[in-house]
Amino acid sequence: MMEITLTHYLVLSTVLFMIGLIGVMRRKNLLMLFFATEILLNSVNIALVAISHFYGDFTGQMFAFFIIAIAASEVAVGLGLLVLWFKRFNTIDLDNMTQMKG
């Protein structure tokens, strides 16, 4: 009972992923959507590193490492686009982005 096993970490990662998904679905502000995406990426990282530790395999940590690199570039490009959008339309609300009529 007092031992922390892989299941503990996986449950924690699941809960965090759930919070991130709730954020993605509930939020209408684009910046808040970005924050929710960061939560998703972090929860997966926890699961990867935990599995890497408990199975004695290094691959999980390598994948988490590359996920961090991808998250950093996503933020750089995404924020640039967001700033552009805000300059042009003065809002970053998701509901105002429905110009493309499909």
Partner: protein, 187 residues
């Protein structure tokens, strides 16, 4: 005992911080709570003997990414409250829980079913950072280089899109102005 306490303390703190991030209607609170959550997550990495990942988490997430976000927020009006149309929270919660459980089941089923063999086994008695270096610069050298190029591309893209001093930045012009400029170049 110590690990038990630490795990539950940091799990509670992380979940609380991320919950605040997702629910608060003030973007500055969301940013601070997210930064705190990132720092608490690095504690898990240290507990899992992944020291290098913990330090990278602190430097890249709590340092660089959060700094980028706070710089980005200077462009937006962050003092006013966010007015968001509220969607039905029951639907959202149900969907989120279902989607998460399906994803976890999909990923966890092969892990439980098959017996996994370590592809890059962790060697006892060798430092974490040392081993990261060994694996990264032998088996993952090409992805590492590609990630470096990707970061460079992302940096240039960020500068081009958000840069103010570039007076001829196409990204800031309207469609008509871009057309006029192109006509000028052609003529």
């Amino acid at each position: 005992m110590f690990e038990f306490l630490a795990f539950y303390l940091f799990a509670f703190l992380t979940i609380a911080m991320f919950y605040i991030t997702v629910t608060t209607s003030h973007s500055l609170y969301a940013l601070t709570a997210l930064a705190a959550g990132m720092i608490f997550i690095s504690a898990f990495y240290f507990m899992l003997n992944a020291d290098f990942m913990g330090v990278v988490q602190l430097i890249v997430y709590a340092g660089a990414v959060m700094a980028l976000y706070s710089f980005g927020m200077m462009f937006f009006d962050t003092t006013r409250e966010l007015h968001e149309k509220k969607t039905s929270s029951v639907v959202v919660f149900t969907l989120a829980i279902m989607a998460t459980l399906i994803t976890v089941a999909m990923i966890a089923a092969p892990v439980i079913g098959g017996n996994i063999e370590a592809y890059n086994p962790i060697i006892e008695g060798v430092g974490n950072s040392q081993q990261i270096g060994l694996v990264l610069f032998t088996k993952y050298l090409v992805p590492f280089e590609v990630a470096a190029v990707m970061l460079l591309v992302a940096m240039i893209a960020g500068i081009v899109m958000a840069g103010k001093k570039m007076d001829d930045s196409y990204s800031e012009l309207s469609e008509e102005e871009i057309d006029a400029k192109e006509a000028e170049v052609v003529a």
